[in-house]
Symmetry: C2
Subunit: 245 residues, 2 copies
């Protein structure tokens, strides 16, 4: 299996044809059907206009209260609240949110690194739809099925350090159910769902350093199962989640 970066993209602005840029790079740089294209959400968000100038945000009372509790910018707090279903945990300056997509992450996934000064980048409104658009465009350029993963960089409960996870998926099964399969001793496997889309996302992090300017990485030689796919399949049902509440 090989992981390799597509060449750097220019600074992406709202309305830019990101799918076209990635299709052109994929075709000319050697992507092939069966490959998985892994894209940092920041360029997707920028192309989709999910960039907000903090000065233009009016902070309401709840946001001002959160700002007071956390020491964060009130405008940022307004965005955190509007991007969240609810706050899962808050302590000092840390705010862990459940986003409208169901992702549990700090600050509702709002990011200021790699944003222009005074602006922040929100998550795509529907990252699975974004992944499907990229898949259609790049797949057409290559003349075959590819997989797409859109990533964000998340902290984890219990563990130090950040890893990339899949927030958008298209073209393959993101969680492979090995149940009913057998191990090498013939014992039937139970409870062995493999989160392959998150494995691919995490692997891409080996290239996407925060400052690397490498927002698109290709995985070649990975076996995936063709399917429409969606990162929403990676969100644990709250009823079966022992830590969400």
């Amino acid at each position: 299996m090989r992981l390799w970066p597509l060449s750097a993209l220019p600074e992406i602005a709202p309305g830019d044809d990101l799918a076209g840029m990635l299709a052109e790079r994929g075709r000319s740089e050697g992507m092939a059907p069966g490959d998985v294209l892994i894209v940092a959400h920041k360029v997707v968000s920028k192309a989709e206009g999910r960039v907000v100038t903090l000065e233009q945000v009016d902070a309401g009372p709840a946001a001002r209260e959160l700002a007071e509790q956390t020491g964060k910018d009130p405008a940022l707090c307004e965005l955190i609240l509007s991007e969240s279903r609810r706050i899962v945990r808050r302590r000092n300056g840390t705010v862990i949110c459940e986003t409208h997509h169901g992702f549990v992450c700090a600050n509702a996934g709002i990011d200021s690194s790699n944003a222009l000064p005074g602006t922040v980048i929100l998550l795509p409104v529907d990252p699975d739809a974004s992944a499907r658009r990229l898949q259609a465009s790049v797949g057409a350029a290559l003349g075959g099925r590819i997989g797409v993963v859109i990533t964000d960089t998340h902290g984890r409960a219990f563990r130090r350090g950040l890893v990339n996870i899949a927030i958008g998926v298209a073209g393959f099964v993101p969680v492979i159910d090995h149940r009913g399969g057998k191990d090498r001793h013939g014992r039937v496997l139970i409870g062995t769902d493999q989160a392959i889309a998150d494995e691919l996302a995490a692997a891409s992090g080996l290239y996407m350093g925060k400052d690397s300017g490498t927002p698109a990485v290709v995985a070649s030689g990975v076996t995936t199962i063709p399917a429409p796919g969606a990162a929403s399949e990676l969100v644990r049902d709250p009823a079966h989640d022992l830590f969400r509440t």
Copy 2:
């Protein structure tokens, strides 16, 4: 970056020279200094004798109570309790433990898949020490520094599906601190610790299907920072953990 499997190992028994087998494979199959060797803990545990026959375990009162609550084998419950500092969450048949290492995972990391019938596999007593031994042996065979990651397959809070994480590390910095670095707009980065050892572990999962018989994967072309390293650095300080308690 290239990820590639070492050739399959024979069934490993207590006392087997796993380090020697991996060194021989690494040397003859093309590993080079700078590579990272990623090994599933199961073969490490087996070589270190961390295999228990359930019939030989006496379940005490607490284990029998846990067995009644969960429907699990009382002997398995005895092992879960003895391998844990404490139970973090319990619901129906799910027992999330904090192991003596500080890892938070189901059943204290005790695994019955790929174990001989009637037996279970415990985590290594000191996976960082195990990683250092593998590093010394394989590094000597290759004539240079390598990195080693020992993995386990864990569920996650909030997300469906399992991914491999690093439970043992040797030879490199497992969490890279990008703080103080700058993004492409010159903005100073904050809060951007990259859990590179977990990224490598997750990537290895793309090869280590539960039934693949591929317990050792090599990552070539990854930039790591030389250091003694330890997976204990990946355990979040409970005082800063919003979900452990």
